[in-house]
Symmetry: D2
């Protein structure tokens, strides 16, 4: 058993990390760190864990947690992970101990290495630029080999995961033409565990609205990665985000025009091939629904096409659970790959229907 620890373990992503680790055949929970809940049972906060564990929250210091773990998950609010790494290990990742645990950061602190792009996306300067360059972007299903070789993983954002799994195969195949339009929808759990006006039930329960139009912080992350996968430098990305009266779920519909004539069957074959080694990506004939994915690490995809002039209009619909495949599940999947475990270990949760 390898030892796993979680910082920020009282939040929603932290709770899902705990649920997955507690049921993982190759990981054991070392520290569930939450200073504000130290000493209390995990189930006081994560009510679903009642009766499944007697473990309690810890307030161990970072140095102790790192030295007692084989993998550490950072599920803090944005900004904190970069500060803690610098405080604990210095400004340079080269000073990180050889035998130190693998790190998976879920906060977004290390997703963008470019200083200017980071600042534009997050509205503040990088505080650990050397670290930010050292992290590997952990989109497991498209970057498995890089993940396997990594020690530090920047876990992709929830919208970015869905958008990139939907559009990535086209980019890699050199088929993308500008613009790529991504229209995405998120449930309320993406806003975190603290009550706030945007998640006040009376006004959220029957609401649907766009938010952060043209300025969402995940857009540069998606744009950067699409180029890394092969999209031309000049590709315009239009990222439209909406909030829906769902609790869990991200749904994105991606559309672009490819210059070549391609049938739907040819495109489906491309996707099948791209994800042949990915147990969590499921190609569907019908548009996928977020509902039966709650709690699972699946990304369901469906690809549609029709002729548009001499080229092809492509539509790809993708659905995930934002907290699992778009967060803690993919984080454990990355840890599994880095630690040499079965990629599926701990991630066998079967969703519910209805």
């Amino acid at each position: 058993m390898q030892r796993a620890s979680v910082f920020g373990s009282a939040g929603y992503l932290g709770g899902e990390l705990l649920r997955i680790i507690l049921g993982h055949p190759g990981l054991e929970l070392a520290h569930a760190v939450s200073a504000s809940h130290a000493g209390r049972p995990l189930a006081d906060v994560h009510r679903n864990l009642l009766g499944t564990t007697d473990a309690t929250f810890s307030d161990a210091a970072p140095a102790a947690v790192f030295s007692g773990s084989d993998v550490v998950f950072l599920a803090w609010e944005p900004g904190r992970a970069q500060r803690v790494l610098v405080e604990t290990f210095g400004a340079e990742p080269s000073s990180y101990p050889e035998a130190g645990p693998r790190i998976v950061d879920l906060s977004g602190d290390f997703r963008i290495a470019d200083h200017a792009v980071y600042e534009r996306a997050y509205g503040r300067a990088q505080e650990a630029p050397a670290w930010q360059s050292a992290f590997c972007y952990g989109l497991t299903d498209l970057e498995r080999d890089r993940v396997r070789a990594a020690r530090f993983i920047a876990n992709p954002g929830c919208f970015a995961t869905a958008a990139l799994l939907a559009a990535g195969p086209l980019a890699r195949a050199g088929l993308v033409a500008s613009p790529i339009v991504v229209s995405g929808v998120t449930g309320s759990s993406g806003s975190g565990a603290s009550a706030k006006p945007g998640t006040h039930h009376p006004t959220r329960a029957a609401a649907f609205r766009a938010y952060k139009p043209l300025v969402h912080q995940h857009e540069p992350e998606v744009a950067r990665e699409l180029r890394a996968l092969g999209a031309p430098e000049a590709t315009d990305l239009v990222f439209l985000t909406h909030s829906a009266p769902l609790v869990r779920g991200i749904h994105v519909t991606v559309t672009t025009r490819i210059e070549a004539a391609r049938t739907r069957e040819e495109l489906v074959a491309l996707y099948r091939e791209t994800f042949a080694a990915s147990p969590f990506v499921r190609l569907r004939d019908e548009p996928p629904d977020v509902s039966p994915l709650a709690g699972t690490n699946f990304c369901d995809l469906a690809v549609f096409a029709r002729a548009e002039g001499t080229g092809t209009r492509v539509v790809v619909a993708a659905a995930i659970d934002n907290l699992v495949k778009g967060g803690s599940g993919q984080a454990v999947q990355n840890a599994n790959v880095m630690l040499g475990l079965d990629e599926r270990a701990g991630l066998g949760f079967v969703g519910l229907h209805p």
Copy 2:
């Protein structure tokens, strides 16, 4: 046109008062008081009012508001109305100006005249006991004559309104036997306009749970009024409250055993007679649903019965919109009756289906 003012007008009850007053043929809006939003359009807060009014929030002082109004609605958080009345008019209601406006308080400050009962219900001492004795309990449909003669109305609580319209006719007819069990359910708008853990969408959207079992502050209000209507002093009242993933709506199911043998038809006739003059109480054959009542001032009732030994088991189901019939609508209905207007004025909102 008579002049109506609202204190606490940025809350949900305040917003519904404004909506009703702005569409009322006999009232005109004098002051919509909200110090924290003073100068801003009402529609900035109450988004449904956009395009229907250019009025703005006011920060006028109580004395100015009272002297410029024919009726004043107090929709503050609990505790404030009693302090403001004492500060503005002194400890004795006898010092209230002869020509002062009618007052309708929606906060609960004046629903219970008895000091000890008040303290047990609200967890603090009365701060304006002489005022508390001077207010008339405004359950219009069962107390129309008392309301007509009143100057100061304590508007009933939302749960209490539904429970009393359901059980009141039995109490008045001398049919109640102990215990009366009231099982009630409320939507999230009853928690007010501020985000709080209990109304956080991720945990509320699929939740159903009891709350404040055996200690809900509306229980003594219902018990007191049932006795006022004729229930025996020794009647035990069991008040069970639950929160449901609704936005608007209170539903109560009341059950008691009456000693006499009564058919369902006889009981329905009793209810019809009791509410013959009440345009907003609708007797239904089928159990009522809260859904089509949103925004309306209706209370829908259905009465069921079966023999139980030598007596009769009675079940009454009642549904209302908690913010309207259980709040601002009944407040305006009370104002209409006090001011000599048509009781239905301003309350003709037809709900939606679906």
Copy 3:
């Protein structure tokens, strides 16, 4: 008072027509036709109307309904209106009586005059081609003058209404460049009043999915009308539709690239000017939400822009109630314009918040 009749009055669009007509100062209800409910009170089916009317459903024959009405609303399922008009008045609209009532069809039967396009959209041949050429597309806010002169109105589809009010001003101003991407979301009431698998609560309550990707029947309607408003013939339209766990509401986000450099302010000014005479179109600074629009005839719009190369990326978000502005409300708005009434008559419903 002018006489209004409704065919298909037991459905959701029919119910909203009845609600609006019953509260309309210039219309009186002549016939609420529903053969299957003939003789029963309207409120048996449309529960919100209880206590507001004693009217009953009628099974009057079309000839009698038309001869006793000044305006007739056709809210049948698709296919029936064209058959009934031919049966009643013959294949040629020229045989329609001079003094016959204005007609507003809500079913889609008359939205597309072109035979081939119709057949592709609806999967069957036109059955009343001469009539289909005689109907005027009733997008009131962009076609007020044509509506005023019309006798027969094809009421726009719900998605089409939102998409065209969002994109129409750009098309008319000659600013549209290909492609226009419309990403839309609908609530469940758009599926009608009959229970069906897609609206089964257990599977719909937490569902979000795309549907009819690249083949939605509203796409050709939108494409045709955008060209009529000025979009170049070669504009590609990509129409992405999704179902959300809402009851009421259509939300569309439209994006296109315009060749010219335009600031957000310039575009907002264009929209303000375009809709200067439209009381129901509200320009907002923030992305609009469907929730407070339930029951209202408003279309809320917000326009966003950023530079994209030498041109401008434009995003327009639009929200409506699918049954009102996207159906029965716009139908009455069209009737008002045709009959010379105040365009706003009967449509003053103020929505609810929350």
Copy 4:
């Protein structure tokens, strides 16, 4: 591995049986019978099973299914199980083969042995009275020993499970006084997998209403079992059922007056002792919520009390997942007990939060 088969496997209870059996360490799926889906993958119907099994639906005849199974679950619509048992094995259970599999019926056909009571509850005569006398009522947590000795189990209804686990300990301790009032709420999945008016999303999404007041078919089942547990013959049971806009979940609040003076702590101790051997019953301090129970076999209980005259008013709140603890989970729990497996086997599903 013991072989388990499911009849009625395309319904919601059938789907949950399949999910549990497929993850059960001691059971293997023999037949998932559904004539109408024979040959199709289970995941075509139960979308959550996609990627977890390649099994298909079978149309094997009852005789073949029974002879190839160690336990058979009957999840048919009411009425069918009794007919099939008589057709397959004759009118007398004594002709059932010695080596035949254990049977768990989930349909209600065998919950009530008394002819007259059955007929009143279900509105039709028993068709297999000898079988109906041979089945053991499978309320595992209160009847573990009887279940262990049984071959044929009548699985309790969903409402009955929650009501009996809430009230049973009082009945067994001789504390119940008349009346017992049970106020229950159910989600929409209890209506089954077929779309019907009561589960039409537009009218169900914001609905709350009582249904079957005073005539619910689970009432005699609860009354009979309460007496079996020790409640006096003359105890009046009042069973109030409501539908809420939940998908999964049963919540009941039970109240009764006990003659003796008991503190809350004494009552909690009674419940703890009663359920000491029950891993799935969890005593809580706070009122339980249905939300984190989805998919789990837990029943969460909370007990409250206050003095009422010389006796004690008791309130017990109980929450379960209607399809699992109120259906398929309890069915497998019963099978585990009968087959000598760990009672918890296959039932370790950890719910989700949020």
